[in-house]
């Protein structure tokens, strides 16, 4: 890793800072959906998508797996998909 911030202007040049800002915004969105009582299929899918985006940022930018051997990236992103898929399946079953 070779980067170094030369001035304050480079705040957004650091992927870790960008990830943090998106994570905060996504958290606010999930909280807002909860506060406004969002429920049902659309809300569930939206919340799972938000969680997937957040999880991916943690995996790729915080855990620094973006440039890791692909196997580990696939295992962790695959875990997100597995968990999201199982939750979606269970919620879908509950609608029947």
């Amino acid at each position: 890793m070779s980067t170094m911030p030369t001035s304050q202007h480079s705040f957004l040049a650091n992927p870790v800072h960008r990830a943090w800002l998106v994570l905060l915004a996504a958290t606010a969105l999930t909280w807002y959906l909860g506060e406004t009582g969002a429920a049902g299929t659309g809300a569930i899918i939206a919340m799972l998508l938000i969680a997937f985006v957040k999880g991916r940022l943690v995996i790729l930018d915080f855990m620094e797996l973006r440039h890791a051997p692909r196997l580990w990236r696939i295992l962790l992103e695959g875990w997100m998909l597995l968990v999201g898929g199982l939750i979606l399946l269970a919620y879908w079953l509950s609608l029947k």
Partner: protein, 197 residues
């Protein structure tokens, strides 16, 4: 499981797994354990939809949201500590680790406030299925936050001795990966238990 590719490609920088390989197997095992708990919650809910939807609304959504912000920010600080190690800024490593630890302490504080509120209202594991899952899932995660903070304390102590830097950040990266996992788990747990219905 195949060995890592040891032949560097001439065109692309070698792909590198941060930290020790062992910590990643440990993280994978933890993630799988939690995926069982998350699925157990979601599938148990199919038999108690009304109960889950009703009692979920008694949870403190704002406390859960604040705790998400604390873990995300704690993870951010620890990612910055690793970046500081790579550019050999030793003072910044310790500083960011301490800030990450404080975020974890904040999380525990908010969670204790939440538990005091629920336990004070007489809610226990046997109150109903929803609270059984709420208490056990969040408490199991709570224990992981504590373990993560113990790891951060060790990293902080080592960083004060100048152990980590551009020459070696392996131990720091391993501990940081565990701390990010604690964050990752909460990113699923919060919407699942507090919000989704």
């Amino acid at each position: 499981m195949s060995e890592e590719n040891i032949l560097p490609s001439p065109t692309e920088p070698a792909r590198r797994l941060p930290g020790d390989l062992a910590i990643w197997f440990f993280i994978l095992a933890e993630l799988l354990a939690f995926s069982v708990f998350f699925s157990a919650y979601a599938f148990a809910r199919t038999h108690h939809v009304e109960e889950f939807n009703l009692y979920q609304q008694t949870l403190n959504l704002t406390a859960g949201g604040i705790n998400t912000v604390l873990l995300i920010t704690g993870s951010w600080f620890v990612a910055l500590a690793v970046q500081a190690a790579h550019r050999d800024d030793k003072a910044a490593i310790s500083r960011h680790l301490a800030l990450g630890w404080l975020c974890g302490a904040g999380f525990l504080g908010v969670k204790c406030y939440e538990y005091a509120d629920k336990f004070g209202a007489g809610i226990t594991l046997s109150t109903n299925t929803f609270y059984m899952f709420y208490i056990s899932l969040t408490f199991f995660h709570f224990m992981h936050v504590i373990l993560g903070m113990v790891i951060l304390s060790v990293l902080w102590k080592q960083s004060r001795k100048g152990v980590y830097g551009a020459h070696d950040a392996n131990g720091l990266e391993s501990g940081a990966a565990y701390w990010h996992m604690v964050d990752l788990l909460w990113i699923v747990l919060f919407p699942l238990v507090y919000v989704m219905r």
